[in-house]
């Protein structure tokens, strides 16, 4: 009896533990400092979360196939810089220049993602290695593209994508909401979503069930690449400049969001719902610690500890099933 009850508690914590922890953090920071829950600060947190949260939605797909993409931060910078570069080249006064930049950034992101996915599947190079290479390649390519200098001087319509709002909600947050919803629906209700879980859960069985495993794996890198490109565009619009140092370290925040959200690095288990909680948790924690004047050095220590604790608990809970 007691054993059964203990398993129940463990299972409940496994399911809702991260959400509970997030709520507890919000409560704690809210009580500590009245500014924390001000509309301004909340919008700030959410906008910050949205940029890497968009990538984290794509990363969830990648990690569900038991892969990983370390290049997202560099790709964000490269795609954002490419968009800004092309926009400059045709002239910022051109009325649809923002669209050109958006299209370029997303296309560059998709193309790079596709190439990385192909390298993983066609040459059977482990994704860790392919994207570790990508991490430095695309950062380097960003520096080469504009000789290390930022590109700025965007028009208002361009800036709107980072600083504007729709019905009072900042645009990046709206986009993040839409993309997260699309990711959720895809994973939960579509054939493609089922195939992702199948490939991640048991690639050999997936192949024997007639799935084109290589194409599915390639597609998830394309998705995360496209979303990295979009995030690059949004970040440049928010900051008013495409910077060569943009998105440094984002890969860790993105992967941490997915993992804290309960998606298994071994593939086949988890989903976008958890990732959103994970991304919010990191955003709240970072912002809360800043407001409490905890040094940024300590922030890194705290976030690292939480990642390890989340996975350790998940593994513990799994061993207690049955």
């Amino acid at each position: 009896m007691t054993a059964a009850r203990r398993v129940d508690v463990v299972m409940w914590l496994r399911r809702y533990g991260t959400s509970m922890f997030l709520l507890a953090l919000i409560l704690f920071f809210g009580l500590e400092n009245s500014r924390f829950l001000s509309i301004r600060n909340v919008a700030n947190i959410l906008t910050e979360v949205s940029i890497y949260g968009i990538i984290a939605v794509g990363m969830t797909f990648v990690i569900l196939t038991a892969g990983v993409d370390l290049a997202v931060g560099s790709l964000l910078a490269f795609a954002g810089m490419s968009g800004a570069y092309v926009m400059k080249a045709i002239g910022a006064d051109y009325p649809l220049s923002w669209l050109v930049a958006l299209a370029t950034a997303t296309a560059v992101g998709s193309l790079v993602g596709y190439l990385q996915g192909k390298t993983v599947t066609f040459f059977s190079v482990p994704p860790f290695i392919v994207t570790l290479g990508g991490l430095t390649i695309w950062r380097g390519a960003t520096l080469i593209l504009n000789d290390g200098s930022p590109i700025s001087g965007f028009d208002a319509r361009y800036r709107w994508w980072g600083t504007g709002s729709i019905a009072g909600v900042p645009v990046p947050i709206v986009l993040f909401g839409l993309i997260a919803a699309a990711g959720f629906v895809t994973q939960r209700y579509t054939r493609y979503g089922r195939y992702i879980y199948a490939v991640g859960g048991n690639p050999e069985a997936a192949r024997l069930n007639g799935l084109d495993v290589a194409a599915i794996v390639t597609s998830v890198y394309l998705i995360v690449g496209a979303l990295s490109g979009l995030a690059g565009f949004l970040l440049s619009a928010r900051l008013g400049a495409a910077e060569a140092v943009g998105g440094i370290g984002y890969e860790l925040r993105v992967i941490a969001s997915v993992v804290i959200g309960g998606t298994s690095l071994a593939g086949g288990r988890g989903g976008v719902g958890g990732t959103i909680v994970g991304a919010l948790l990191i955003g709240v924690l970072t912002n809360g610690l800043v407001i409490m004047h905890v040094s940024s050095y300590w922030q890194q220590v705290v976030i690292g500890l939480i990642i390890v604790a989340a996975v350790a608990f998940d593994t513990y809970a799994k061993s207690h099933r049955e």
Binding site: R191, R194, L208, N209, G210
Partner: protein, 517 residues
């Protein structure tokens, strides 16, 4: 049996959930003896070996080795220290380390706490020479052939001062010449005081290399004796003489059109890698409504051919006809499914199930195309209907269709996989080991399902290591041995004896024997 008893096992019992694996088993091995442990699949040999090696614990029973009691709680390591060493079919070697390192792993000669490499290689060279092997002990194990890797395993046993070496189907992956070398090495070690337990399905080898034998059947001790003076036919009778456990069906009405024909499938043996055996000129035909059994030992070519038919593996040569249409051998299971095939693979957990995922996800995965709205969204209403239909048709026991497949019993998992295939409405169904590791009740149900599917006009290929199963299910039986088809049997004249002779006796001897019968 003049020599002293080395291993004495008495009254060993082992119960698994739902199965009595061993029931009062006895086994005596004399000093300097090669002792054959015989029995069909499921007779309890593997369980007994695991209990001896310390990997499993017996519920009851006594065993002594060289007069020392084998305590029930001992680990495999403890048993190795006593001189009882087991060599499994999958070797326990470290592929990226040298032969010498593998031979003395954990017992490397040291000087001042540092490995004495010169001594290590010298010892290894001497040991290999003793075994009659001229390979450089510095070579990495992964570059060795299967036969040489096995020699390294034996060498390691010798280095551990083995008194008794247990070998589980040591010749399953060896060629004829390699088998001879193995036997010579075993004879050499025997004269130096080592005994062997030799598990094999190849009875001609028993005659050649073994001194004594013990036969198990359905987890029970049946007989033991000296090999000299025993006919292979007598051994077969001892192994198979049991109650028929499956009801045999009467042959279906005349089979229909030919659904599948393969002609001249061949594949070279790869020295390294996955394809350990060569396939030679395999031709098979399967008609609508008939069940064709693929019989043979593991590694004889039956699963290999099935995987080629299904597009899961490649072959070098051969043609495939599906419904009379010529196709080059399929390049992927995707093409096979499109051509109307379905496969229940050999290894349920590794190749069949998505253990963490729900029953409905497992069941509908390859059929999602048909139950998708606009080809994109899974129509959950249709999905539930489909799952409910097969759940009741196959009597799958489950709390609800959202629970993970990994929580089901083996029999129910197998039913989920069969349902997955049925939902594809295939013209050809290939079932590899339909009832491996599932209980008797589910076995009968699975068999009934296969009969029903054949009756509905599906062409069925059944691959099984269990002879009674092949005999009960098949209209025709194709027997594989060492990558060739060694015989065809009609269900009317197939018996366990002539089937086993085709499976287990080297081709020439088998032909003679069949001719004699």
């Amino acid at each position: 049996m003049s020599a002293a008893i080395l291993l004495d096992v008495r009254d060993v019992c082992k119960q698994f959930p739902g199965v009595r694996a061993l029931d009062g088993v006895e086994l005596q091995v004399a000093a300097q003896e090669v002792h054959a442990l015989l029995g069909e699949n499921g007779a309890g040999k593997s369980t007994l070996l695991k209990i001896l090696s310390g990997a499993l614990r017996a519920d009851r029973g006594e065993a002594t080795l060289d007069g020392i009691r084998l305590e029930p709680g001992q680990s495999p390591r403890d048993r190795q220290r006593l001189g009882l060493i087991t060599i499994y079919q999958e070797f326990n070697l470290l592929p990226f380390m040298s032969i010498a390192e593998n031979l003395y792993l954990g017992r490397e000669p040291t000087r001042y706490g540092i490995i004495d490499w010169a001594a290590l290689y010298e010892n290894a060279r001497a040991l290999l020479a003793d075994l009659g092997l001229s390979v450089d002990p510095r070579r990495e194990v992964r570059h060795l052939s299967v036969a040489h890797q096995q020699m390294v395993e034996i060498g390691r046993a010798v280095a551990q001062k083995a008194k008794l070496i247990v070998m589980d189907e040591p010749t399953a992956a060896l060629s004829g010449r390699e088998v001879e070398i193995l036997h010579t090495v075993m004879q050499g070690l025997k004269t130096r005081g080592v005994s062997f337990i030799y598990v094999t399905h190849r009875l001609d080898e028993v005659k050649r290399v073994c001194d004594g034998f013990t036969v198990l059947r359905d987890g029970r001790y049946v007989a033991c004796g000296e090999v000299r003076g025993v006919e292979i036919r007598d051994l077969v009778r001892l192994m198979v003489g049991r109650d028929v456990e499956f009801s045999k069906r009467s042959r279906t009405a005349a089979p229909g059109e030919t659904v599948l024909a393969v002609k001249g499938i061949s594949r070279a043996r790869e020295s390294s890698g996955r394809h350990a055996i060569a396939l030679k000129d395999l031709s098979v035909e399967v008609k609508a409504g008939e069940i064709v059994g693929f019989a043979g030992l593991v590694g004889a070519g039956r699963t290999e051919l099935a995987r080629i038919i299904f597009g899961a593996d490649r072959c070098d040569d051969g043609v495939l006809y599906v419904n009379g249409l010529e196709m080059s051998p399929l390049r992927s299971p995707q093409e096979a499914i499109r051509a109307g095939m379905a496969l229940v693979p050999e290894d349920r957990k590794q190749q069949g199930c998505f253990l963490d995922q729900s029953i409905s996800q497992n069941m509908t995965l390859p059929s999602l195309k048909r139950i998708a709205r606009w080809r994109i969204f899974v129509d959950e209403v249709k999905e539930r209907q489909l799952v409910d239909h097969y759940r009741s048709a196959l009597r799958i026991k489950m709390a609800n269709s959202a629970v993970a497949v990994g929580t089901l019993s083996g029999g129910n998992q197998q039913k989920v996989l069969l349902a997955r295939c049925m939902a594809l409405q295939p013209k050809l169904l290939i079932v590899d080991e339909p009832t491996r590791g599932i209980d008797i009740g589910s076995k009968a149900e699975v068999h009934q399902l296969l009969f029903d599917m054949a009756r509905s006009g599906i062409a069925v290929i059944v691959i099984s290591s269990e002879m009674p199963e092949v005999l009960a299910l098949s209209d025709r039986i194709i027997v594989f041995r060492e990558g060739c088809i060694s015989g065809l049997l009609d269900c009317r004249d197939a018996t366990e004896s002539n089937l086993m002779e085709l499976m287990a006796i080297s081709t020439a001897a088998g032909a003679q024997r069949v001719a004699a019968v």
